[in-house]
């Protein structure tokens, strides 16, 4: 039977020490759908996104991503995910192009050298390709992270407050990234503190309150 959902979370719970961060979280994301996940600080948004990215394991529940079980098939899941977290995940002493070359090797991206120039143009970093990443502003580092994801062309985007630190041009690039993913049939889960900036690309909104999912009003 073909699973219609790209992401299927059932009864996910996670605690750190004795602090319950996620409590019986269940939701699904269809192919081509973009979910906006809202919640206050400490509501568990980042933890949920990191669980989806297999960066942390859950205590209870099941997580199936594109048909793969997150407990058994982590390697397969990681190949399908583009993760944009709070940290840009760039090496400050490597240049922009060296950072992308390394990511491409790590994620086994075929023919990335051909795509590299185009990707740098799309995120507005063509003039910075030989500049050390440590000399970039936070916003430009964020764009470098987007470039990493553009090279990957993942099926699932997991974006944790992606608009933070981006100017209007950067936010437009982010919207393009999500829309392009949707057109390819990919799914997106995006957390945000500023729902208005990304409301236009979201198909559905979920609230995370005290570690529990509720539909947004």
């Amino acid at each position: 039977m073909v699973n219609p959902d790209m992401i299927l979370a059932s009864g996910i719970s996670k605690s750190f020490a004795k602090q319950r961060v996620l409590v019986d979280v269940s939701f699904s994301v269809a192919p081509g759908e973009c979910i906006q996940l809202l919640g206050d600080n400490g509501s568990g948004k980042t933890t949920l996104l990191r669980a989806l990215a297999t960066l942390i394991s859950v205590d209870q529940g099941s997580l199936v991503i594109d048909g793969y079980d997150s407990q058994k098939d982590k390697t397969c899941i990681r190949g399908k995910i583009g993760f944009l977290g709070h940290q840009p995940l760039v090496y400050s002493n490597l240049t922009v192009s060296e950072n992308l070359n390394f990511s491409a090797s790590l994620f086994q991206i075929v023919n990335y050298r051909i795509k590299l120039s185009e990707v740098l143009d799309r995120v507005g970093l063509a003039d910075f390709r030989d500049k050390r990443a440590g000399m970039l502003s936070h916003g430009l580092m964020k764009r470098l992270s987007m470039a990493r994801i553009l090279l990957q062309e993942p099926e699932i985007l997991l974006l944790d407050e992606p608009e933070t630190g981006l100017d209007n041009q950067g936010v437009s690039m982010l919207q393009e990234l999500v829309n392009a993913n949707k057109l390819r049939g990919g799914s997106t889960v995006m957390t945000t503190h500023n729902p208005e900036s990304t409301r236009s690309i979201a198909d559905r909104v979920l609230m995370l309150t005290g570690g529990k999912i509720t539909p947004a009003s």
Binding site: T75, C76, G79, F83, G85, L89, S92, E98, Q108
Partner: protein, 228 residues
């Protein structure tokens, strides 16, 4: 199978090249451990100042004290540097089994350690009046340093998720490498006394067994160690 091996080796080499490139640019690990190693040699050289007969008996231990302490600093940096750069998630997101990330890091640490040890060899020779430029010692250095790198890189991973890492890492590292120190010092004593490969074979075999066992265990544990 061949395709999988290609992918695995590509990832390991990518991590190795990245680490070596970073080190070449910053020299954040290489310079401090070289200076530290040289300082230990100097301090021992001036503090001990024994007769030639006494020097011959304590030189093997001194050599490995220098290498172990310098090697500890190199191994410590291995994964801590990823934490400082806040890039550890990038490695954890890679679609490969995590032991291959460990192998890439291990290779980089191992090559760095060997390089620093090679630079310290002539200084050790001058201060302690010993000749370490022999095939037997080269073989010993290669095998023993690998063991130090295996243990050190693994423990560096443990310390990533530990608050008291400056304390935890030496507490864990030094007891675990005691077998390496015993075998290495005994072999060095024999080598400096003029013994050949045949005489140190038993010690080298023990070192090899240690290296293989810990190499396999470290690969198996690595994912578990880094998991939140």
């Amino acid at each position: 199978m061949i395709e999988s091996l290609k992918i695995i080796s590509a990832v390991i080499i990518a991590i190795l090249k990245k680490d070596l490139l970073q080190e070449k640019r910053t020299k954040e690990t290489f310079i401090p451990i070289l200076i530290f190693g040289m300082l230990i040699i100097l301090i021992f050289g001036f503090a001990v100042n024994p007769s030639p007969a006494v020097l011959v008996s304590i030189a093997p231990g001194l050599v490995w004290v220098v290498f172990v302490l310098a090697g500890f600093l190199a191994a410590n940096r291995s994964l801590v540097i990823e934490m400082q750069e806040e890039t550890i998630d990038l490695l954890l997101l890679a679609p490969v089994s995590r032991e291959f990330i460990y192998y890439g890091k291990l290779l980089a640490t191992y090559l760095l350690m060997l390089f620093v040890e090679l630079l310290m060899l002539p200084v050790l020779g001058i201060f302690f009046e010993i000749n370490l430029f022999t095939i037997e010692f080269a073989l010993l250095l290669i095998i023993a340093t690998f063991g130090l790198a295996v243990v050190g890189t693994l423990l560096s991973a443990i310390s990533v998720n530990t608050k008291a890492r400056e304390v935890m890492l030496p507490i864990l590292f030094f007891p675990m490498i005691i077998p390496i120190i015993i075998c290495a010092v005994a072999s060095t004593e024999l080598i400096l006394g003029g013994s050949g490969l045949g005489d140190i074979r038993g010690w080298l075999q023990m070192l090899l067994i240690f290296d293989i066992v810990f190499f396999v265990l470290a690969g198996l544990c690595f994912d578990f160690i880094l998991e939140e």
